[in-house]
């Protein structure tokens, strides 16, 4: 029983960050209808920026994470402005190819900048695990879980309680009316993409210290983000949150009870099964963002 709880807890840690990835992508894919294959690269960027801050420049860890999130958001804004805005009217195939191109360029840019050797990020948390009854958790992972939950809450508040969030939802529900009401569509698009990319960067910044940082780490992250979004239902904030947690737990249980080699397959299988049998997602009716 304790083993099961341990797996569940580990799964929640991962799941929290997957939820961040998923919320970010559901904003971009669900609201903006941009199939962003480069989403994983902002995750990678977040990890590398944290590495640069914490391990190279040796600044305060939290500061490094915050800077990484900001950096991811800014990079996202730049990409949207330069790359996606000009293609706004084109077919979805064109946008897909553009984001694929961006994916290749960003990843190989990372490869060139940092080299292919995996890096580890220095963090200030002590190593001995914190014991909570039958389960235990490394302080780092506890911090990651806490930070993820805070960020999820923050994103939720941003989308549902601020005027920016209202503007975002309005823009993507009915762009023409939103424009008529004075909302600057272009600015909202850029901001939405920035927030989505920032959340991806946050996931990378949080998971980076737990695992290693290497240029291709975003590939799996991107697919898992899609899995979460598909599972939770396109555009559904709560769905992405729940979906992310579910994916994390499913991966941990799969790795623990079935086989660790196939751990990453869980996300793939979810994508395939959900799209084939329940394309609207498991939670499609719950709390739509748009």
């Amino acid at each position: 029983m304790a083993v099961l709880l341990q797996h569940l807890l580990n799964g929640l840690v991962l799941g929290g960050t997957y939820a961040l990835l998923g919320i970010g992508l559901t904003l971009i894919f669900g609201l903006m209808n941009v199939v962003n294959f480069a989403h994983g690269e902002f995750y990678t960027l977040g990890a590398y920026l944290t590495f640069a801050g914490a391990s190279m420049l040796r600044v305060n860890f939290l500061l490094a994470v915050a800077a990484a999130i900001l950096g991811g958001g800014l990079a996202g804004a730049a990409c949207e402005r330069v790359l996606l805005r000009p293609l706004a009217g084109e077919s979805i195939d064109t946008t897909m190819l553009a984001t694929i191109g961006l994916w290749i360029v960003l990843q190989n840019g990372e490869l060139l900048a940092w080299g292919g050797v995996a890096r580890s990020i220095a963090h200030p948390f002590p190593t001995p695990p914190v014991v909570l009854g039958p389960v235990s958790l490394a302080p780092l992972r506890l911090a990651v879980l806490g930070a993820a939950l805070v960020l999820i809450l923050g994103a939720h508040l941003l989308i549902h309680r601020t005027s920016l969030g209202v503007a975002m939802r309005a823009t993507f529900q009915d762009g023409e009316t939103a424009a008529l009401m004075g909302i600057e569509i272009g600015r909202i698009r850029t901001l939405t993409f920035a927030v989505g990319s920032g959340l991806a960067a946050a996931a990378g910044a949080l998971l980076g210290p737990i695992f290693l940082v290497y240029p291709a780490m975003g590939d799996l992250a991107a697919l898992k983000a899609f899995a979460v979004v598909i599972l939770g239902g396109l555009g559904s904030f709560a769905g992405a949150t729940l979906g992310g947690l579910l994916l994390g737990v499913a991966e941990e249980l799969g790795a623990g009870y079935v086989s660790s080699g196939y751990r990453d397959a869980v996300g793939f299988v979810i994508i395939i099964l959900v799209l084939l049998f329940r394309p609207a997602g498991l939670f499609a009716r719950v709390g739509r963002v748009g």
Binding site: I104, D219, P279
Partner: protein
């Protein structure tokens, strides 16, 4: 649409291709051309889906790999002759392609892409983890050379002709298909599906057919690859292969026949040329940049843009 080269031009091209080993005898050059030929087959296969049926598949390397593994395993474990192994690899890849097609047919656009990506991911993981079948990351060394009627294609020169023959065959088959009733059906489904249905075009049937044929061709390329490099490992499922194929088709000109072939040759030869000049890390970066440039500047691809330019003059 590009005008087909006229008879004498076509004959000259064929003679040129046949004579290549005479004026480019170095093994290195032949290797590059062999890989160009294998990629040409792959690009043609992806083009059937992307350029004609209008489906973007990012899992195509999976069928390449399935063909390679099937062919290699049949030769290594069961000592099947190459012709049987090749045919089976094509059939297996095609069959799996048909199944994925039938299942994914209801999904279009981004969702189809995601399913193909996921499928490729699962296949890749299986090849790494199912040690008993595939020998995992260690791969399968010692795959015998292709042979037909007692003749072994052991030299680069002989493999060049084999690949040339298969690539030419693939080109002819694709040409016949796209200019036929079935080709028109695929294009119709891509251009206006409800209208296509109203005149009796069965979307499920033809799209499954397209995915099956496309996968079969990719499997053929895989089989050739396995018996040429004599070694198969999970690296055949590398995503960079799929991306390379996509760039070849899109930059060359999807929806034309010549475009992907030109793209394949260019993007096989170019990295080799660049290798002298820049480090390999820049290669993929340049690919990505090239893809972006194509999307923005030459959305039709090189060949159709050249053809339109020629027609306007």
């Amino acid at each position: 649409m590009a005008r087909a080269p006229r008879r004498p031009l076509r004959a000259a091209l064929v003679l040129c291709l046949l004579a290549v080993p005479l004026w480019l005898p170095s093994p290195y050059h032949l290797h590059v051309l062999i890989m160009a030929g294998i990629f040409a087959i792959l690009a043609l296969s992806l083009n059937l889906l992307l350029g004609y049926a209008g489906l973007l598949s990012l899992g195509h390397a999976a069928f390449f790999g399935i063909g390679a593994y099937a062919s290699a395993l049949l030769a290594l474990r069961f000592a099947w002759p190459f012709s049987a192994g090749f045919a089976t690899a094509v059939a297996v890849a095609g069959g799996i392609g048909y199944l994925t097609g039938r299942l994914a047919i209801r999904l279009r656009g981004a969702y189809f892409v995601l399913v193909t990506l996921s499928f490729a991911g699962v296949v890749s993981l299986v090849s790494v983890n199912w040690m008993d079948l595939t020998n995992g990351p260690l791969g399968l060394p010692g795959v015998p050379a292709a042979e037909l009627l007692g003749f072994a294609f052991a030299t680069k020169r002989s493999v060049y002709y084999l690949v040339l023959a298969v690539a030419a065959g693939a080109y002819v088959l694709c040409a016949r298909l796209v200019r036929s009733r079935i080709g028109r059906a695929l294009i119709a489904l891509r251009e206006n599906e409800p209208l296509a249905a109203s005149v009796g075009v069965d979307g499920t049937r033809y799209l499954s057919l397209a995915t099956a044929l496309s996968a079969a061709l990719a499997g053929a390329a895989g089989s050739l690859y396995a018996h040429y490099t004599r070694f198969v490992s999970p690296e055949v499922f590398l995503f960079s292969y799929t991306l390379t194929m996509v760039v070849m088709v899109v930059a060359g000109g999807k929806g034309t026949l010549v475009g992907p072939v030109v793209g394949a040759v260019v993007f096989t030869v170019l990295p080799e040329v660049l290798r002298e000049l820049v480090a390999w890390q820049w290669q993929m970066l340049l690919y990505g940049t090239f893809l972006l440039l194509t999307v923005f500047l030459l959305p039709q691809g090189v060949v159709p843009t050249l053809a339109a330019w020629r027609e306007r003059r």
